[in-house]
C-alpha cells in the first residue's frame, strides 16, 4: 500500500535541487509537492489572512498558509491530512476531508451524547428567566437572531450599515447587543466568526444592554 508521506529529505538531496524545492513560497513547512500541486503557491497577505479565517480559496485541499514567513522548520514528513490539521490550529474550521466510515472507532452513542452540547442558555439583561436554544438547528446568524427575537418577543432586529446587528426593545428604545461566552471564557460579539466556528465555541449567549457592551473586543476589519 502506498504511504502518503512526504518525499524524504534524503531523496531531494540525491536528486539535486528542483525548481519547486528552491521556489520561495508562503506555505506550511514541507508543503505538499505531490503530483497536482498547486501552481499558485505564492500568496498575497490578504489571501493568507482570508484562508486563515476559513474561506478556502485556491488550494484544492482546503488548506493553506497562515504561518508568516517562509516554511522553515520540519523536514516535510507530514501527510496532507496533517497539514490540514496544522492549518486548523490557526482557528480555521477543519478542511473538508473525506470522512472515513467508522473512523475513528467511537460508538455512535458517545458521538451523539457529546454532540448535543449545542444547547446554550440565552440570558437577557433584566429578564427574570433564561431560555435555551439548540444552535445546530439554525443555519446562520440571521436565523438565530430571528429566533431570539421571537423568544423574547419584545425585540425587533435593527440592522446597522456596518453589518452590526442589534436587538431593540421598541417600548423604551433600549438596544441589546448579542454577545456570547466562548470556550476560553471570553465574552465576544455575536457575528464575528464564521457560523460553524461560532456553534462549536459558543457556551452561552447574553443579550447585553448596548451601554454595557463597550468593553467587548472590537470587530476585525472586513
Amino acid at each position: 500500500m502506498s504511504i502518503e508521506t512526504e518525499r524524504s529529505s534524503t531523496e531531494s538531496e540525491v536528486s539535486g535541487l528542483d525548481y519547486e524545492e528552491t521556489a520561495l513560497t508562503l506555505g506550511l513547512p514541507g508543503g505538499a509537492r505531490a503530483a497536482g500541486s498547486d501552481p499558485e503557491r505564492k500568496r498575497g497577505f490578504s489571501q493568507t489572512v482570508d484562508l486563515a479565517l476559513g474561506t478556502s480559496r485556491n488550494d484544492p485541499r482546503g488548506g493553506g498558509s497562515g504561518r508568516g514567513g517562509g516554511g522553515g522548520g520540519s523536514s516535510g514528513d507530514r501527510s496532507d491530512e496533517s497539514l490540514d490539521r496544522e492549518v486548523s490550529r490557526s482557528e480555521k474550521p477543519p478542511a473538508p476531508k473525506a470522512r472515513v466510515v467508522g473512523w475513528p472507532p467511537v460508538r455512535s452513542y458517545r458521538k451523539n451524547a457529546l454532540k448535543s452540547c449545542t444547547f446554550v442558555k440565552v440570558a437577557v439583561d433584566g429578564a427574570p428567566y433564561l431560555r435555551k436554544v439548540d444552535l445546530e438547528v439554525y443555519g446562520g446568524y440571521e436565523q438565530l437572531l430571528s429566533a431570539l427575537q421571537e423568544m423574547f418577543s419584545c425585540f425587533t432586529i435593527r440592522n446597522y450599515p456596518n453589518e452590526e446587528r442589534k436587538l431593540v426593545d421598541p417600548v423604551n428604545g433600549t438596544e441589546y447587543v448579542p454577545t456570547y461566552e466562548d470556550k476560553d471564557g471570553d465574552w465576544m460579539l455575536v457575528g464575528d466568526v464564521p457560523w460553524k466556528m461560532f456553534v462549536e465555541s459558543c457556551k452561552r449567549i447574553r443579550l447585553m444592554k448596548s451601554s454595557e457592551a463597550i468593553n467587548l473586543a472590537p470587530r476585525a476589519p472586513r
Partner: protein, 586 residues
C-alpha cells in the same frame, strides 16, 4: 466414550474444569450435565437457541452477544440481525426448562416456569414484545443487563418493572431506547424492595422523579444507581439523602448555580455517602460544580468524566489531585498531556485508563500525545488496561511504555489519523507495538493504529501467545501480515480487519484456524467473492457471510468472483435462520 460413564463420574470430572471456555467446550459435547448454577455464554448465531434451551434447561444465567464488534462503528448494516426474541422465546417455552424450574423452585419463588434468572445481552435487537415475554415467563427473574442494544422502548421496561417480582438489577448501558413516556418507573410495585442496581443513564427522555425517589426509599440494598440527563441536581440531592449507602453513582445533569442553596444541599448530600467508590454521569457538568464531590474524592476507585467536555485543564487537574485511590479513570482528551502527568503523580493505584477523543472531526484544542501516555506509564505501574485516542505516537514512547508496564491485558491505541507514522523518525510503528507484545506476555486484547507494515504482525505472531482479540485498520503490506497472526497466535478467538491489503491468499492459507476461533471480520480488504466461496466450500462448518450494501447486486445475478466484498465469517454449528437481503450465506 463419555456416555459410558455414569453421570456422577462425569459431574466429578466437570468439577475440575474451572476455566469458562473449557466448561463451555465440554458442555457442547456432553448432554445435560451442567450444574444448575452454570452460566452460559453464546454468540447468538453459534448455535440454535432451542437447542441450548433443550440441552441446558436449568440454566440460571445466560449471556448472548449479537452483532460483530465493528457494528459499533457503523460498519454493519442496521438490519443484519442479532435478534433477542428467539432466545427469550426458546427459554420461555422450553418444556424441559419449565419442568426444571418446577423441580428446583426456590422457596418463595414461583413454582414452575422457566428458571432463568439473569439475562445479559450485547449488540442485540430487543423488542418490547420479547421484554414482555421475558417478564411474564421467568418468575425468578432477577437481573437484566443490556449493552449497546436497540429496538425497544420504555414500554418494554415498564413490562419488566411490572411483572418481575424479585428484580435485583436493571443495567442499561449505551442502548438506543425509544422514549415513550416516563411511566415505567411508576410500574415498580410497592412490594418491590429488592433492587440493588439500577442504571438508566442512556435514557433520553424525562422520567418520573417522584416515582424514582419512592423506589429508592424502599430499596435499602440499592448499591448502584445511574441516572439520566433528565434528573436535576435538586432531585439528585433528594435521592442521595435517601440512599447514602450507594457505592456507585451516575449523576444526572450536573449543573447548578454554585452560589445557590441547591448547590449547598448537593454538597451535604454527597458528603453523607461515605460508601461511594465510583462516579460517572456528569452530564452538562460545569467546573464550578465540581467542588461538590471533593469531600468523597479520596474514596473513589472509579471515575468517568468522559461525557463532560466542559471540564478541562486546570479544573480537571484540581479534581484529579483529590483522587489518589483511583483504579479506573475514563476521561476526554482535553485532559491533555499535562493532566495525564498529574494522573501519573497522583493515581498510583491506577489499573485502567481510557482517554476518549473530544473533538472527532475538527482539530480540537488540547489533546493528548505520546507524552501523556509515557508519563502515566512511569507513574502507574499497575496499569493493565488501556484505551487511548491520540493525535500521534512514537516508537520510542511505546518502547518506554512497554518497559514500564509489562502487565497489559488490554492495549488499544487509536491514532486518530489513519496510517500516521512516528513523527520523530517518519518510521512505521512496528517496533513500538512489537515492544508492547513482547513485554506484556499476558496481553489478551490489542488494537493497532498508525503506520504499520507486515513486520508488526510478525512480532504479534511471535510474541502475543495469549492474544484473544485483535483489531486491525489501515495496516500491513501483504497477505503475509495476516498469516503471521493466524499462524502464530494460538489463542486467537476474534480477528477484525478493515482497510488492509489482505486478500484471498491470506484468507485461504490456514482455514483450519477458523475452527478454533469465534469470528473473523474483514471489510474493505482485497478478499473476493471467489475467495469467500472457496472458503465456504473448504469449511462447510463455517458460516461465511458476505455483506453487500448495494443489494441490487444480488438480484442481478452473482457478480464476478473477482468482485471485492465486505464480509464476515463466524463459526457456527447451526444455520442462521432468517437473513436480510444484503447478506449472502455461502
Amino acid at each position: 466414550m463419555m456416555t459410558y460413564f455414569p453421570e456422577e463420574v462425569v459431574e466429578h470430572i466437570f468439577g475440575f474444569l474451572t476455566a469458562h471456555c473449557d466448561r463451555n467446550a465440554a458442555s457442547l459435547v456432553v448432554q445435560g450435565v451442567v450444574p444448575p448454577a452454570a452460566r452460559l455464554r453464546r454468540n447468538c448465531y453459534a448455535v440454535r437457541p432451542e437447542r441450548v434451551a433443550a440441552r441446558f434447561p436449568a440454566v440460571r444465567s445466560l449471556t448472548v452477544k449479537g452483532k460483530p464488534h465493528f457494528a459499533d462503528f457503523n460498519l454493519v448494516p442496521p438490519d443484519w440481525g442479532g435478534l433477542a426474541a428467539p432466545w427469550i422465546e426458546a427459554f420461555a417455552s422450553s418444556p424441559t426448562a419449565a419442568a426444571a424450574g418446577g423441580r428446583g423452585g426456590r422457596a418463595g419463588g414461583g413454582g414452575g416456569g422457566a428458571p432463568l434468572e439473569e439475562l445479559r445481552m450485547k449488540r442485540m435487537v430487543v423488542s418490547d414484545e420479547c421484554l414482555e415475554t421475558l417478564a411474564r415467563s421467568f418468575p425468578n427473574f432477577r437481573a437484566l443487563v443490556l449493552i449497546s442494544c436497540e429496538g425497544f422502548s420504555t414500554h418494554g421496561l415498564a413490562a419488566v418493572a411490572t411483572h418481575c417480582r424479585h428484580l435485583r438489577e436493571i443495567d442499561l448501558q449505551e442502548n438506543e431506547i425509544e422514549d415513550r413516556g416516563p411511566q415505567w418507573l411508576s410500574c415498580f410495585p410497592e412490594s418491590c424492595t429488592s433492587l440493588m442496581s439500577l442504571n438508566f443513564a442512556c435514557l433520553k427522555g424525562e422520567i418520573n422523579v417522584a416515582a424514582l425517589e419512592r423506589l429508592v426509599s424502599r430499596c435499602p440494598n440499592l448499591r448502584s444507581l445511574r441516572l439520566n440527563r433528565a434528573v436535576s441536581v435538586e432531585a439528585l440531592s433528594r435521592i442521595l439523602m435517601k440512599a447514602p449507602q450507594l457505592v456507585d453513582l451516575g449523576t444526572g445533569s450536573f449543573w447548578v448555580d454554585h452560589r445557590s442553596e441547591a448547590f449547598h444541599r448537593l454538597i451535604s448530600a454527597i458528603e453523607r455517602c461515605k460508601s461511594l467508590r465510583s462516579l460517572s454521569g456528569f452530564w452538562d457538568a460545569s467546573p464550578l460544580c465540581l467542588p461538590a464531590i471533593y469531600p468523597i474524592c479520596s474514596n473513589l476507585t472509579g471515575l468517568n468524566l468522559s461525557y463532560a467536555p466542559a471540564i478541562q485543564g486546570s479544573d480537571l487537574i484540581k479534581l484529579i489531585r483529590h483522587c489518589w485511590k483511583l483504579q479506573r479513570l475514563w476521561v476526554l482528551d482535553c485532559i491533555g498531556d499535562k493532566g495525564l502527568a498529574i494522573v501519573a503523580s497522583t493515581c498510583k493505584e491506577l489499573q485502567e485508563l481510557r482517554v476518549f477523543p473530544s473533538d472527532i472531526y475538527g482539530a480540537g484544542s488540547a489533546t493528548v500525545t505520546e507524552e501523556g501516555l509515557v508519563a502515566v506509564s512511569f507513574g502507574c505501574p499497575k496499569l493493565h488496561s488501556l484505551l487511548y485516542f491520540c493525535h500521534q505516537m512514537t516508537n520510542a514512547a511505546l518502547i518506554t511504555v512497554a518497559n514500564n508496564c509489562p502487565n497489559f491485558t488490554r492495549f488499544r491505541l487509536c491514532i486518530l489519523e489513519p496510517k500516521k507514522a512516528d513523527p520523530l523518525t517518519n518510521q512505521p510503528l512496528d517496533e513500538g507495538f512489537g515492544a508492547i507484545v513482547r513485554s506484556s506476555k499476558g496481553l489478551r486484547r490489542l488494537s493497532l493504529s498508525g503506520l504499520l507494515t507486515d513486520q508488526v504482525f510478525m512480532y504479534i505472531g511471535m510474541y502475543a501467545k495469549k492474544l484473544e482479540m485483535l483489531s486491525i485498520a489501515f495496516a500491513g503490506d501483504s497477505d503475509k501480515g495476516m498469516l503471521y497472526v493466524l499462524n502464530g497466535c494460538k489463542n486467537l478467538r476474534k480477528l477484525e480487519i478493515r482497510d488492509c491489503p489482505f486478500g484471498d491468499g491470506a484468507l485461504l492459507e490456514n482455514v483450519a484456524k477458523y475452527e478454533t476461533m469465534r469470528s473473523l471480520w474483514m471489510s474493505s480488504c482485497d478478499v473476493t467473492l471467489g475467495g469467500c466461496r472457496a472458503l465456504a466450500a473448504k469449511m462447510p462448518m463455517l458460516n461465511v457471510e458476505v455483506i453487500n450494501e448495494r443489494t441490487k447486486a444480488k438480484s442481478r445475478g452473482s457478480p464476478s468472483d473477482f468482485h471485492k466484498v465486505e464480509k464476515c465469517v463466524y463459526r457456527t454449528i447451526a444455520g442462521r435462520g432468517t437473513t436480510p437481503r444484503f447478506v449472502w450465506i455461502l
